[in-house]
């Protein structure tokens, strides 16, 4: 099913979705866009390239509360957080970010013990993917083509959207999307011309080029393994690295977290909070031993995790080439360049 709406009327669609549940969509901040829970439908803003932070927080918020407790009281008196989620709509997700959800699903929702929070949030959510605007230039940091993702890949979205001049075309991809799209009476029916435009757009998306290097997951995994002890290489790659956490926080695929008890006046909350393997104390043990005291060891861990360990454990690279880590890095460290260099090392 294909429907459409004028982009200037997007707030009407937003209002309808807000009636049905929680709407998460891009909003404009000072000098960037970010996904936010919408309380004013006028705030939904599709004039963005990509959001500063990835949309992973829709399923894996920066802080997820597990339990509220009182210090010294029996455990049975602690209040467990119950996620009674309304249906949620994650609106305007770029194809590379949609792909990141599938990769995160393996970790949180398929392999080993299931993460109940990720699963609950994921199941409650309908994803509106949104193709990159192929009439605008690509950002020089992006490299999602390298990971086999294209600017207008509908895969993984429930409903996929493309921009047609001043209109937005919405195509249902999954049964879940089909059902929702049928209910959205605020939308107009699309014409056969629109159908053709949509199909062409998807095809043209393949020719919209980001940076590209031929990366086979098995080859790169093996290569990265083989240069683990090449300290010169990693020292060079990390020479500028400040060891801050912005690359991992903005990454749609980084999932490391800490479990923290925050207590004030005898009451507290146990929650999980994003953590970063780039932080010095990430692996500091109670004994004082720390296997990764050096910047190069931490950057090596980050790159190896994405391009080697994750392949070994789950079969796929844990990176979608969205370019956020490169764009946000205060010193322009570029994981794409590191991968290119690693292949040659």
């Amino acid at each position: 099913m294909l429907k459409k709406t004028a982009i200037e009327n997007i707030s009407q669609l937003a209002a309808v979705l807000m009636e049905k549940g929680t709407l998460l969509a891009p909003v404009k901040e000072v000098s960037c866009h970010n996904f936010a829970e919408i309380s004013d439908p006028q705030k939904v803003d599709l004039k963005f390239y990509n959001t500063l932070m990835s949309p992973k927080s829709a399923f894996f918020p920066h802080r997820e509360d597990f339990v509220k407790y009182k210090v010294g009281k029996p455990l049975s008196e602690a209040e467990h957080t119950i996620l009674n989620l309304k249906p949620a709509f994650l609106f305007g997700v770029r194809p590379c970010d949609v792909k990141s959800f599938e990769i995160m699903d393996i970790h949180f929702n398929a392999a080993g013990i299931i993460d109940p929070y990720w699963r609950a949030r994921r199941e409650a959510t309908t994803i509106f993917g949104y193709a990159y605007d192929i009439n605008q230039p690509v950002d020089s940091a992006d490299f999602y083509n390298t990971l086999g993702i294209y600017a207008a890949d509908p895969e993984g979205s429930d409903i996929f959207m493309v921009k047609k001049d001043k209109e937005l075309l919405l195509k249902s991809i999954t049964p879940k999307g089909e059902k929702l799209l049928a209910e959205l009476s605020a939308l107009e029916k699309a014409s056969s011309g629109d159908e053709k435009y949509y199909e062409d757009y998807i095809k043209k998306g393949k020719d919209y080029k980001t940076r590209f290097t031929c990366v086979d997951s098995e080859v790169i995994a093996k290569k990265i393994e083989s240069i683990f002890d090449n300290t010169d290489f990693w020292t060079k790659m990390s020479a500028a690295c400040l060891s801050c956490g912005i690359c991992t926080f903005s990454c749609p695929n980084c999932y490391c977290f800490d479990i923290c008890d925050d207590t004030l006046f005898g009451k507290g909350t146990r929650s999980r909070v994003w953590d970063a393997c780039m932080f010095t104390d990430f692996t500091l043990e109670a004994s004082g031993h720390n296997p990764r005291t050096q910047v190069y060891q931490r950057l090596r861990q980050k790159v190896s995790h994405k391009y080697s360990y994750h392949v070994r454990k789950y079969g796929v690279i844990s990176c979608v080439g969205c370019g956020r880590c490169t764009r946000q890095c205060p010193v322009n460290i570029d994981i794409y360049s590191i991968i290119e260099a690693a292949l040659k090392a």
Partner: protein, 287 residues
């Protein structure tokens, strides 16, 4: 206007010479990034490395940040712009590096740009000086006859706010913080190991990005940089969520200057202002 190409040439020449003659083991300057608009901080250690050195209007990193990574005694050449040279001076005052171990390559420059926004950064977020305060070798023409931008002009709007408004302002701004610690990591003066915020006993603040932890982190950091911040603006440029950290630092620097008649990092003869007690010191700080 600044001749960036000329400075790059001079930088390469001097770096090559210093490494070749064995006067230094590392040259801290700027290198190629993934494209022209995104150069990177760069440590040249061999003569072959010198080829990778670049200098353009986006090279606004304060390389003094990297000085403390090297063991005391390492002979280092460091490329510095105006504010960066003040960081080096401040680090010398704080005995983190020794003057005799440094070859300071001064770069007079105007019109540096923030690679993320394309904005000229001169005095809005930096100290407004064009010429390095301290150097051994100057790599370009000193800027003269150009009125220095005033470092505290940008404070006007902030200072017009009353106490409550300022509190509200910082509450709102600091609420945006995602605690990636890029500000502290980009800061040449933030070298504490461990930083108070990483301690677990006592634990000073929650890890989650929220008040009061965000307040605790930033206000403590702001105050720890009182009289030490050399106004390079690296923290503000590193911040992914555009918190105007420079406003607080500039405000404190201004007060410090008014009270003690001393600016951070202007002379290696100075003592850090909050370490040095002088009978004639202002009592305003106690009020």
């Amino acid at each position: 206007m600044t001749d960036f190409k000329k400075i790059e040439e001079n930088l390469k020449t001097e770096a090559g010479r210093l490494l070749k003659e064995g006067l230094v083991t590392v040259v801290l300057s700027y290198g190629k990034g993934f494209d022209e608009n995104h150069p990177m901080p760069y440590a040249a250690k061999t003569i072959a490395d010198v080829e990778n050195i670049v200098f353009n209007q986006y090279c606004n990193y304060n390389m003094a940040r990297y000085l403390v990574r090297y063991p005391q005694g390492t002979k280092i050449a460091i490329a510095v712009k105006a504010a960066d040279s003040r960081a080096v001076i401040q680090l010398i005052q704080e005995e983190k590096v020794k003057r005799e171990n440094l070859v300071i390559l001064g770069i007079p420059v105007q019109g540096m740009k923030n690679p993320k926004t394309g904005e000229v950064i001169d005095s809005k977020t930096t100290c407004g000086l064009y010429n390095p305060v301290l150097y051994d070798i100057l790599l370009g023409e000193e800027v003269h006859g150009q009125k220095n931008a005033l470092p505290y002009e940008v404070l006007a709007e902030y200072e017009a706010m009353d106490k409550d408004a300022r509190w509200e302002f910082w509450e709102k701004e600091l609420n945006k913080c995602i605690r990636c610690y890029a500000c502290r990591k980009a800061c040449p003066m933030c070298y504490c190991d461990p930083c108070f915020i990483d301690q677990s006993k006592p634990k000073w603040a929650d890890k989650a990005p929220q008040s009061p932890g965000n307040m605790m982190y930033h206000l403590t950091r702001f105050h720890h940089l009182a009289g030490r911040c050399i106004d390079c603006g690296e923290c503000s440029r590193a911040c992914p969520v555009d918190i105007p950290l420079y406003l607080f630092h500039k405000k404190v620097a201004k007060e410090c200057e008014e009270m003690f008649n001393q600016k951070a990092g202007m002379s290696i003869e100075d003592k850090p202002v909050l370490v040095d007690f002088r009978v004639e010191d202002s009592d305003k700080i106690l009020e």
